[in-house]
Amino acid sequence: MIDELLRYEEVHYSYSGGSPALSGVNLGITRGRRTAILGRNGCGKTTLMLMGNGLLRPQRGSVWFDGKPMDYSKDGLMQVRSRVGFIFQETESQLFSASVEQDVSFGPFNLGWDEHRVAEATELALSQTGCDAFRHKPTHHLSGGQKKRAAVAGVVAMHPTIILADEPTAHLDPQGVDDLIDLFTTLHAGGMTFAVATHNLVFARSWFDDAIVMSEGRPLASGPTSEILADTNLLKKAGLYSKYSGE
């Protein structure tokens, strides 16, 4: 049996006054694997991911985490959010604190840990993510790549089971992308499950086990990355095919 960490059942969602962002999503994210969520701008990737952390609640259908339907009470959300780390596309809004170290320590404090344990977790997360060198810097002095790493550190410090990352490679230079993928690889080797929204097919091809292709608020196909990305017709239909990509 497939061990699904996250499960979406007939999920519908429309923003106020807008056309539906998600219309009937059924899919699962497998524990311990790396899943790419592919699709062009506006297809609903962000909306889908926000539901995985309980930040949005489906208007119809349900989201299941670790075999249980999501509980939207305060305690229930705490439970889920302590295990589901979310890396936002706009790093700017994720980093709120004056220095990197302070920002990273924010999540662990919210889990009710004592100062000693928070300091330990912060220390470990900073060194794991390579943020040691700029830990005392104000967050607005960091480069794009450093900000991303700091955001990852802030999530890693909470010891989540799964990381949801929304277009993490956007706005990063090639070196920054490589560094981030290396970091994800290390975390994955440590047992972390990943679900990553992206339209970077090179990244998708080289790194992910599974891929889900989204179009207009619902999944078109899902399966092993190698099979999904070999299907040119599917990619064309999802608006992911570029005649300039040289593939």
Partner: protein
């Protein structure tokens, strides 16, 4: 933001905020207490020299920062030097101009002294605060204050405001660059239009930002209090003692000068009375 950048790079970054607060507080107090322009200007020169040598910032930058209050102070200083009224009633007149009958404007020794003193006091106070801001990053100051009894709400507000200012500065410069690229700032008219658009954009962006920030905080289990680790440089006992001694001596000197002068003035008056 520029100030905070400088603070992060200052040679005194690693010194405890307590020592720096003491230092700047002592000079601030001196500027309040002293009523002698020679004392004030001496302290001002001393502190400026100290700021320039100890903090290790480029002198040009430091002078430019000083120029900001100076620009505001000089006009008011000039206004203060001039007295209005019956010129016949003024003493020690250095320059005067009759306007109408016995009425006129004049510069007297007294008005000149007052102006020089007030400008000096303001500059000294500003330099004392400048020392603090140029050597202590906001992060350390808020950490220090929150550990020593400043309510959590206040520190959180300072931290969030500080973060918003950082974002604002970045966004404003990005928008401005984008506007300049499309020649939005070539003439006064377009500059005015561009700046109003910029302010409007900043406003909408800040609403967006607030919304996203609260979502991001929620994602990390925000419970209503922003608790974070604080790292404050420790106090260096010997240096602290030396600094306290210097401060006490300086304040003592300022006070004795105050007291000494008034005592002297008093005895002069007494002599005059006896004559």
């Amino acid at each position: 933001m520029l100030l905070d950048d400088l603070a992060c790079r200052s040679h005194w970054r690693g010194v405890s905020p307590a020592e720096k607060l003491l230092w700047s507080g002592a000079f601030l107090l001196a500027s309040l207490l002293s009523r002698h322009s020679d004392v004030v200007w001496m302290l001002f020169a001393g502190l400026s020299l100290w700021n320039l040598t100890v903090l290790g910032h480029p002198p040009v930058l430091y002078l430019r920062l000083l120029a900001i209050p100076a620009l505001f102070l000089l006009p008011s200083g000039l206004v203060l030097t001039v007295a209005w009224g019956e010129t016949a009633e003024l003493h020690d007149i250095l320059w005067q101009q009759q306007v109408h009958g016995s009425w006129g404007v004049a510069i007297t020794r007294e008005t000149l002294d007052t102006a020089v003193l007030l400008v000096g006091k303001s500059l000294l106070g500003f330099t004392a605060l400048l020392f603090l801001t140029l050597s202590t990053p906001v992060v350390e100051m808020t950490s220090f204050l929150s550990r020593h009894g400043l309510p959590g709400l206040v520190t959180e507000l300072i931290v969030l405001t500080y973060r918003m200012i950082g974002l604002f500065a970045a966004t404003a410069s990005a928008i401005q660059t984008a506007q300049s690229a499309r020649s939005g700032w070539v003439s006064w008219r377009t500059a005015f239009r561009s700046s109003s658009l910029l302010v409007f954009n900043l406003f909408t962006l800040s609403i967006h930002h607030t919304h996203r920030l609260s979502r991001a905080l929620d994602a990390r289990c925000y419970q209503g209090t922003l608790r974070v680790l604080h790292r404050i440089p420790p106090c260096h006992t010997v240096r602290m003692i030396c600094m306290t001694l210097i401060c006490v001596c300086m304040l003592g000197w300022v006070c004795s000068k105050e007291w000494g002068h008034s005592h002297l003035a008093h005895s002069h008056e007494m002599e005059a009375y006896h004559d």
